[in-house]
């Protein structure tokens, strides 16, 4: 073990090195977060490459905060605090520098680079690829070697609570880390999710919380120069934290197919954890309240710390409430949870880390620090954080409310957009606060006073100890720490191994026979592309056992459905809809067009485009795009095979009754708004379908403006979708909107008769010529009478047009003759001359049998035209 002034100097160098890198990590990670936030409301921002796509930046944002920022800040704190707490130095300076380079050059820089290059894991708080995860585990073990030995050499009965937290933090993190990073790669789907859930919470509870709490217990008495309120109750809080926290993890997967006993266990443990935090925070705040010299107000680092303590209470109580099943049913997957995690990671952990770094920096020789900038950073960060958390909490409530209602998913995206813009503004404020905080370490007065505490070797002047009491306390504390380790293993067994075992038995028992579960090599490649681009961070793959989920997404996800998924991609957030049953919902063409540019099919989508998976247009996908869509079409495939057909669509509309009953009451103008919001992506604002998305579909989007369909067909298409095309069902629209858009679509066709001045010949001549053209070119498919029943009609998936029911316009026919209808059996007829096209159009129009329409619908086109004329 190193000793002496040389070690002190080296420790100061290590503290500075980790502090500087923590600043760099903080600024870069926050920048990643800001870019991610901007992409929410400007989805085309930086969407040209794989490396800057939303998912990869999101991975680097969270991993950067965890390792580049907080990891470095906590290690800097360890170098300062451990010698003070143990009166012993850390193990080795050389090991310190080895650890520094492993942590930063290999783990952080390597991890960031690999994630951007497309190598990652779709696991919350475990996004760095497995190779980097192995390096981090080695670094965590080196941390134990570097810092745990001094603690073990220090008597257990004399160890201050901050030391216990640090010792627990480094030991338990090294144990917990493989649980979330390695095990989900060995156990598929639901079984892996059980372990992922443990790490999601342990990353915060076992890594972040002990260090942040240790900082509070260290800095508060160091600044107030008074002992904490109660060391005994601080120890009770410590034991509760380590004994109970590992039991919380599964509350991230409530209402899932994990065993219900495990879900209830995590719920109870989460509530119990809230009680622990109340004990810890009460003790800390009473310790702050002891100070009577104004230091609480004057000392900026302490201000960061006590703010962190208050937020710790808020965020923990909030977390306990979120774990209660009835509340979780409402709020889970929404931005509420994102607000909660930002409150924890910025308000609690980062404020504590900043307080610690500022506190240490003021005690290092030959460094500058600016109190004014530090104070500015405090207020910028406090205001920015408060704004962001309030904003995301509000967004979460709005999303949760909309998800409970029978409304289309996209409504929640539309409603969230203003909140996401405010979040970006708050993010700018936070980034400015972080920059100011970093700057405060480089400007201002240079101070030379060396805080002597780190080398203090003063002997105790306390009353003589009772050796028997000392022995019992040391034994009890050591035994309880050992019990903590044992409980960690037990929690691993109770909430990981046991549920996984039960799930395995359940999967074996419930998997239907003869299903195709295994993925093809192409589908597996698609799964990897899905994973490395962060798709699971917006789209869950688990329909929960809640009425709202079942209504919206179909039957709940059973454990056996994901038994071939390594690692699991259940997800913990829904920005887009759940994809567990995607295979039955969309066509391959729709998926490809949507992937190329989501706005081509869903006008208000905020999903990033993946143009880099295509060769310039949506109908030229690369193999990667084809593989990704192949994977999407496996989601829910097995479940579909067990049922007679696709999941029953809810809210079926009684077409005949609704159609005629509502025709006279719907508003044609509100129908246009619904149409533009939902239909214009494919069919175009004018209804002609000449949009990039509409033309890339196969068959291309229907031209609603040039071809008049019978009302019943329009209503049926809206209610049930159109099989064999990319037209989905829109029966989740509220009935008022459904009626309005149906009537608007019925009002779109403009098929005026030919003006005499435009006619190539008298009408009778055109009719005769048109019949000759039709008999020559069209009857094989459209039939002799134009009813769409020609001898070759049965060859096509979609039957040819029945001109008794479809009224064609001259403009529409001309376009179809020139371009055909790609994706259908209708080819282009470029050799037909304009007079021939006009003649055959006149002939086809003569076949049309106009249905009797209610007055409202008959009048609608004029209303539409009047509006357009304005």
């Amino acid at each position: 073990m190193s000793t002496g002034d040389g070690t002190l100097l080296s420790a100061q160098k290590l503290i500075r090195a980790h502090t500087y890198t923590s600043f760099a990590g903080l600024l870069l990670s926050a920048t990643f977060g800001l870019l991610v936030s901007i992409k929410f409301h400007v989805p085309t921002f930086l969407d040209g490459h794989g490396w800057d796509t939303w998912g990869r930046l999101r991975y680097d944002h969270t991993q950067g905060i965890l390792y580049a920022w907080l990891g470095n800040a906590f290690i800097a704190f360890l170098y300062y605090a451990v010698p003070v707490l143990t009166r012993r130095s850390f193990t080795s300076v050389r090991l310190g520098w080895l650890l520094f380079w492993i942590w930063n050059a290999v783990a952080v820089l390597g991890g960031w680079s690999l994630v951007l290059a497309g190598s990652s894991q779709p696991l919350e708080w475990a996004e760095f690829p497995l190779g980097i995860a192995a390096v981090i585990e080695v670094a965590l073990l080196l941390l134990v070697v570097q810092f745990a030995l001094p603690f073990w050499k220090c008597g257990a009965s004399e160890l201050y609570v901050a030391g216990w937290y640090l010792l627990g933090g480094i030991t338990f993190t090294a144990l917990a880390y493989p649980v979330g990073n390695l095990v989900p790669n060995l156990l598929p789907g639901a079984m892996g999710a059980a372990f992922s859930g443990l790490w999601i919470h342990d990353a915060v509870g076992i890594f972040i919380t002990p260090f942040a709490t240790a900082i509070a217990y260290f800095v508060i008495p160091a600044v107030t120069k008074k002992p904490i309120f109660s060391h005994f109750y601080s120890m009770i809080g410590f034991w509760l934290l380590f004994l109970v926290y590992p039991l919380n993890g599964l509350h991230h997967y409530i209402y899932s197919s994990l065993p219900m006993t495990a879900q209830h266990a995590s719920e109870v443990a989460s509530i119990y954890q809230g009680i622990d935090v109340i004990i810890v925070v009460t003790n800390l705040l009473l310790s702050v309240a002891i100070a009577s010299d104004g230091s609480v107000v004057r000392d900026i680092p302490l201000r960061f710390i006590w703010t962190s303590v208050v937020i710790y209470l808020v965020v923990s109580v909030e977390g306990s409430i979120q774990a209660i099943m009835s509340f979780n049913r409402f709020i889970h997957f929404t931005d509420w949870v994102i607000g909660h995690s930002h409150l924890a990671m910025i308000g609690f952990a980062s404020f504590a880390a900043m307080g610690a770094l500022a506190h240490i920096w003021q005690r290092l020789p030959n460094v500058r620090s600016s109190r004014r900038l530090l104070a500015w950073s405090y207020w910028l960060l406090t205001i920015g954080l408060a704004g962001m958390v309030l904003d995301l909490t509000g967004a979460g409530l709005v999303q949760a409310s909309l998800w409970q209602q029978h409304l289309p998913w996209i409504d929640s995206v539309r409603a969230s957009r203003p909140y996401w813009i405010v979040r970006t503004l708050d993010g700018c404020l936070l980034l400015t606060g972080f920059l100011t905080f970093g700057a405060s370490f480089f400007v201002g007065k240079r101070h030379n006073a060396v805080e002597a505490a780190a080398t203090s070797r003063g002997s105790s002047t306390h009353a003589p100890h009772n050796p028997r009491t000392d022995h019992w306390i040391a034994t009890a504390y050591t035994a309880t720490f050992g019990a903590g380790l044992l409980f960690f293993v037990v929690s691993f067994a109770a909430l990981g191994v046991l549920p996984a075992y039960e799930l395995h038995k359940s999967i074996v028992r419930t998997t239907p026979k003869g299903l195709r579960l295994a993925l093809t090599p192409e589908e597996k490649r698609g799964q990897q592309i899905y994973a490395r681009n962060g798709c699971a961070y917006c789209h869950t793959q688990q329909v929960r056992f809640t009425p709202a989920d079942e209504w919206r997404f179909g039957p709940p996800t059973q454990a056996w459905e994901t038994q071939d998924e390594f690692p699991q991609m259940w997800g913990t957030r829904r920005i887009g809809p759940d994809l567990a049953h995607e295979s039955s919902k969309r066509t391959r063409d729709w998926q490809l067009v949507h992937l190329y540019n989501p706005r081509f099919t869903v006008p208000d989508s905020m999903m990033p485009g993946y143009r880099w998976l295509f060769d310039g247009s949506p109908d030229q996908p690369t193999q990667d795009a084809r593989d990704l869509v192949a994977y999407l079409n496996t989601l829910g495939r097995a479940a579909l095979q067990t049922s007679a057909g696709p999941p029953q669509e809810p809210a079926q509309i009684d077409m005949h009754n609704e159609m005629w009953a509502s025709a006279g009451t719907s508003n044609i103008y509100s129908g246009k708004a619904v149409y533009l919001a939902n239909c214009s992506g494919c069919h175009g604002a004018d209804g002609r379908g000449h949009t990039p998305g509409g033309r890339a579909l196969r068959p291309v989007a229907f031209d609603l403006a040039d071809f008049r369909l019978p009302p019943e067909r329009v209503w049926r298409a809206l209610a049930n979708g159109v099989p064999g095309t990319s037209m989905p069902a829109w029966n989740r629209l509220p009935q008022s909107q459904f009626r309005a858009v149906a009537n608007y679509v019925l009002s779109l066709p403009q098929t005026p008769p030919l003006q005499p001045a435009d006619q190539w010949a008298p009408e009778q001549t055109l009719l005769l010529a048109g019949k000759r053209v039709f008999d020559t070119h069209c009857t094989r498919c459209h039939g002799d009478t134009g009813a769409g029943d020609g001898p070759q009609a049965s060859l096509f998936r979609r039957p040819p047009a029945n001109f008794h029911q479809v009224e064609v316009s001259f403009q529409g026919t001309t376009y179809v003759m020139q371009h055909g209808v790609p994706g259908s059996g209708m080819p282009a007829w470029p050799l037909l001359t304009p007079p021939e096209i006009q003649a055959v159009t006149v002939y086809m129009r003569s076949m049309y049998q106009r249905p009797a329409l209610p007055n409202a619908i008959q009048e609608a086109p004029s209303a539409h035209r009047t509006e357009d004329a304005k």
């Binding site: 003070v84 707490l85 009166r87 009965s157 004399e158 160890l159 201050y160 609570v161 901050a162 008495p221 160091a222 120069k225 008074k226 002992p227 904490i228 309120f229 109660s230 060391h231 005994f232 120890m235 009770i236 034991w239 509760l240 004994l243 109970v244 039991l247 006993t261 495990a262 209830h264 266990a265 109870v268 443990a269 119990y272 009473l286 002891i290 002597a452 505490a453 203090s456 003063g458 105790s460 002047t461 306390h462 009353a463 100890h465 009772n466 009491t469 000392d470 019992w472 306390i473 009890a476 309880t480 019990a483 409980f487 037990v490 929690s491 109770a494 046991l498």
Partner: protein, 67 residues
């Protein structure tokens, strides 16, 4: 199983609480690390500033004549 784990955890901690209530020596001794910590920082602990004070926790360190 989880009920048992939480019950055992609570029992262990209750043992500590009861032990602290029962033993003055334990009560004093388990507060001592916070004073040692201040010493390590080079800060004079309160009992060194005034010989009348003890190493008892603040909640026990009040004037017995006061309510």
């Amino acid at each position: 199983m989880i009920v048992w784990i939480i019950a055992i955890i609570t029992a262990i901690l209750l043992v500590f609480v009861i032990w602290r209530k029962a033993s003055k020596s334990f009560r004093e001794r388990c507060e001592e690390p916070k004073f040692l910590f201040l010493q390590n920082l080079g800060i004079q602990p309160p009992q060194d500033q005034s010989s009348t004070q003890t190493t008892l926790p603040q909640e026990d360190n009040h004037d017995p004549d006061l309510p």
